[in-house]
Symmetry: C2
Subunit: 306 residues, 2 copies
């Protein structure tokens, strides 16, 4: 059996079975961040995410992304994707450590540029980069691990969506590969506002495309979903296709019980960021579908890592 | 300026200047783990370390190591080096997250083997692997981040060594590349015993060779050191050269004030692991030296990452 036969999700499910769930762990493998005991009122959040040359950025013109990344952008993105994971739990990012796989192809100033981009992101969100590790590799990679905190009441899992809940996204989706994947702002503040005013039932950040990440919420919550293709807010010039499959928008996908959804729709005009209802949660047996015009089709896709 | 001109330590010093020290951080970049606020009596420890194909293990016969690693050994080592970092602070490892850079060259069972090795190490030390991330790469790499805790009184930094302190190591050094680097046991229990009975002034785990890691303690503590080549306890068949330069012994190098050192020398016969005095700390201006017979030479070396 090879990786493309089982896919990333299949692989992670296998790892989950082998590694098990440790004692005292509130939530282990299977969410945007692990949820761990902390104080009486708060949980500790712990996650890791990497950017790799040729996968998450390119250094020379290539087929996947439109433009090569600057060192600053690589550092910005490496920390940003981790902050996005903490945002998806409703939490506040606090501390990061960095594992740099460095190649001999670049001067010291190149690596300093990466750290400057990382520092800019850290400063914007009051995060401290407190340690790391540096090794030689053949292709550049930066792996960040992040610690955050969240009030127990405001912690949002992937697993809480119920049939009848409405599905929302922040911002606009699609076309991230043209450049926004290197300059995006993780939705930490937006998630904090949402969890302050509303009881979200589930949340995830959109890293693997709307189709892939909605499927994650559905699997963890044991539900189905139906979305409207026309309802998906698209970035300028982006196609629905790219919003569903490309990923790296780093917007938030979340669900709300109908009453809360109604409150959000009333209140959101006072927020400085857009939230858009795109569909609703249905029983698991109904599967995951998308309406394009009047035509209802099974929703598959999302970014394939292998 | 390229990486080999500044070396790993020079690079980290540059990163440290760019990234700064965050608010509330007890100890950031520059120790085995970052030390963060936690409870009234305890600190949180946070570190990351990676193993990379061709650097920390090989999959086919090669010049650096004697034998190829099994998947199980790779997983064992990937978590073990992180536990070793927590041990070097005197702490208890608690939770880990894993970032896997996977290649298409191996079947799913290969990656399951890695996770089985990691699980065995986790189980041995009651650590929970709580999350991770999987991506496609060209060369296999596993980056682990670890969270631990330590009583404030028992937390040992690299920076506390004072002239007059005695220098000790646990276990035996050298020859790790012949295979022990894949099967070692991190010295978590040993560190806990040492910090229970003695006031250690500084500690580090030996990952880059005795010469390199002693230099780290000396830089962080702003001191010099002198060690006796004959005093260094060697593994069976190992050379002093390999103990000084190869690294990956994952034993502990620590310092004690003279009175505490005397107590350790009396008490250690009751411990189930050897500790050996190998030298003493001297003022910074005297530098770092080694006696080989009656000849005193500057001690340089340690594993060079670039």
């Amino acid at each position: 059996m090879n990786l493309s036969q089982v896919g990333e999700t299949g692989l992670i499910q296998r790892f989950r079975r082998i590694l098990g769930e440790g004692p005292g762990v509130i939530r282990g493998i299977g969410d945007d961040a692990a949820v761990l005991p902390y104080t009486q009122k708060e949980y500790l959040l712990f996650a890791t995410d990497a950017v790799r040359e040729g996968v998450h950025f390119i250094l020379k013109k290539g087929p996947f992304y439109t433009s090569p990344a600057t060192p600053y952008q690589i550092g910005w993105k490496a920390l940003g994707i981790n902050l996005s994971d903490i945002a998806a739990m409703g939490g506040i990012p606090r501390y990061a450590v960095v594992s740099l796989g460095a190649t001999q192809n670049h001067p010291v100033s190149f690596y300093e540029g990466i750290m400057k981009g990382m520092k800019a992101m850290a400063k914007k969100f009051n995060v401290s980069v407190v340690g790391g590790d540096t090794d030689r590799t053949e292709k550049l990679s930066i792996t960040v691990a992040i610690l955050g905190t969240v009030e127990k009441k405001r912690c949002v899992f992937r697993s809480g969506a119920k049939p009848g809940d409405l599905i929302f996204v922040t911002g606009k989706l699609g076309g991230s590969r043209k450049g926004r994947h290197l300059t995006f702002t993780p939705r930490v503040k937006e998630a904090r506002i949402l969890t302050k005013y509303f009881r979200l039932s589930a949340m995830i950040d959109i890293s693997d495309g709307l189709a892939g990440d909605l499927a994650q919420i559905c699997r963890e919550s044991r539900v189905g979903a139906v979305i409207g293709g026309k309802a998906v807010p698209l970035s300028k010039g982006a196609t629905l296709e790219s919003a569903l499959n490309d990923g790296e928008d780093f917007e938030l996908l979340f669900t709300l019980p109908p009453r809360e959804a109604g409150r959000l729709i009333m209140k959101r005009i006072r927020f400085e960021f857009p939230t858009t209802p795109i569909g609703r949660i249905v029983p698991k047996k109904e599967g995951i579908h998308i309406y394009i015009g009047n035509k209802k089709s099974p929703l598959t896709g999302g970014f394939r890592h292998f």
